[in-house]
């Protein structure tokens, strides 16, 4: 890490860096919570374990990111307070992460779309001007690699499987595609992070994400739907109706019994 790079990261107000980190942290947390809903319900024991393990990795990544965001925020909130004591409009995950599990195909398609995004994003973030973020990214990247192997492997089996599995995978893709634009379209905060080398420009991320997804879809014999204009802005705190229900379940215990320990 050069002194110049460290200065570049420091030039961005901590409040902005915290706000941007919450997009990453909340995406991992919400997706991890969604996947954990499969525990005890997956189609086979191996998949139950796989989804539970991926959920655990994602929640672990969220914890590292939230702890760091809390430090930057400087208001004494730790990762637990950030996870359990914010309401939906204060969550900044991308809207795709909060979409319901649906059937196994929908869970896999959602996972493929987000795994590809996290994989490319964390790969770039290992070179971030923010050294603490680069360290977290290097850790997360190792885990994202095998998450992608799992989800993209299942996409091929579903897409290039039976007529029924193909139909369900295509239906899931058609239903979720409208949420992908949010992953790749920068707003002011994304651009500010990119201009200070904290995060990659989303335009560069877009081409790598699109190439990765196109290859996976081709192997799976699935069609990418036409681009859709999207009104979703989860990363600005405007969510679909599903997030509130997810948070109600996730946050129930610490809110009902503040400070509970065991």
């Amino acid at each position: 890490m050069s002194a110049a790079a460290e200065t570049a990261a420091g030039a961005v107000p901590a409040e902005k860096r915290c706000a941007w980190l919450l997009r990453l942290a909340d995406t991992s947390l919400v997706l991890g919570q969604r996947l954990s809903e499969w525990v005890g319900h997956a189609p086979a024991l191996e998949e139950d374990l796989a989804l539970g393990n991926i959920a655990l990795d994602l929640i672990g990544q969220a914890r590292l990111l939230l702890a760091y965001a809390g430090q930057l925020e400087g208001r004494g909130r730790d990762e637990d307070q950030l996870a359990f004591l914010r309401d939906a409009p204060e969550f900044y995950n991308v809207s795709l992460a909060e979409q319901p599990n649906g059937d196994f195909a929908q869970t896999i398609v959602r996972q493929v779309l987000l795994d590809a995004w996290q994989l490319e994003l964390y790969h770039s973030l290992t070179g971030s001007a923010d050294e603490s973020l680069a360290d977290i990214a290097a850790k997360a990247l190792k885990e994202c690699r095998y998450h992608w192997r799992f989800s993209s492997g299942w996409l091929v089996r579903l897409g290039d499987g039976t007529e029924e599995s193909h139909m369900r995978a295509q239906a899931a893709l058609d239903g979720l595609w409208r949420f992908t634009e949010e992953l790749l379209t920068p707003d002011g905060l994304d651009s500010q992070m990119a201009s200070h080398d904290i995060a990659p420009p989303l335009a560069a991320l877009r081409s790598r994400w699109e190439a990765r997804i196109a290859a996976a879809l081709e192997e799976s014999t699935l069609r990418a739907p036409a681009p859709v204009f999207f009104p979703w802005h989860g990363k600005r705190g405007v969510h679909t109706e599903h997030l509130g229900h997810l948070l109600a379940e996730m946050q129930h215990l610490p809110r009902a019994y503040p400070g509970a320990t065991w």
Partner: protein
């Protein structure tokens, strides 16, 4: 750094800390100490006499991390080394290459195979056959994958390479 610090037992303090950490077992793989696992990154005694132990998580969400921290404190307390400062180290990220040679042997004796790097070959820990199948890249803990031996037909865990 107080390089000359000596413990009550008469051995250099850092050495005594390392020896004690070798007795702290991974709660999920009790055959393996945290030193064998390669998660202890440093032991330092600072100017004020406090012992600093740096540990790194194997996986971001490994639920054993906190229990391991408690076990480290307890083990060092028992040796009269109190007030330990535990430091979480993220970089460089843990890799299965840090598993010690003795750790590999202990795992295999315990019934957990270890992927042979760099060719990824796995041998059944029970019968030694290399005719094995990977059933899932995920297992009973984040650090293990699930395999089956095609020779003796027994399922077994394999320590993942990351």
């Amino acid at each position: 750094m107080v390089s000359g610090a000596v413990s009550q037992a008469g051995v250099p303090l850092e050495q005594q800390v390392w020896q004690t950490l070798e007795t702290v077992m991974d709660p999920e793989i009790p055959a393996l100490s945290i030193v064998d696992l390669g998660i202890v990154r440093h032991v330092r005694v600072s100017e004020d006499g406090r012992t600093h132990v740096g540990i790194t998580p194997t996986y971001s969400g490994c639920p054993a991390t906190e229990l391991i921290e408690t076990s480290i404190r307890e083990a060092l307390d028992d040796q009269g080394i109190a007030d330990v400062v535990l430091e979480r180290v993220l970089w460089p990220a843990w890799t299965s290459e840090w598993l010690s040679e003795s750790g590999r042997r202990k795992l295999e004796a315990y019934g957990i195979a270890v992927e042979h790097t760099p060719n990824g070959r796995v041998a059944c820990p029970r019968c030694g056959s290399r005719d094995v199948q990977r059933l899932s890249e995920f297992g009973s803990t984040p650090c293990k994958a699930h395999f089956r031996c095609s020779a003796c037909l027994e399922p077994f865990d394999t320590f993942k390479c990351i």
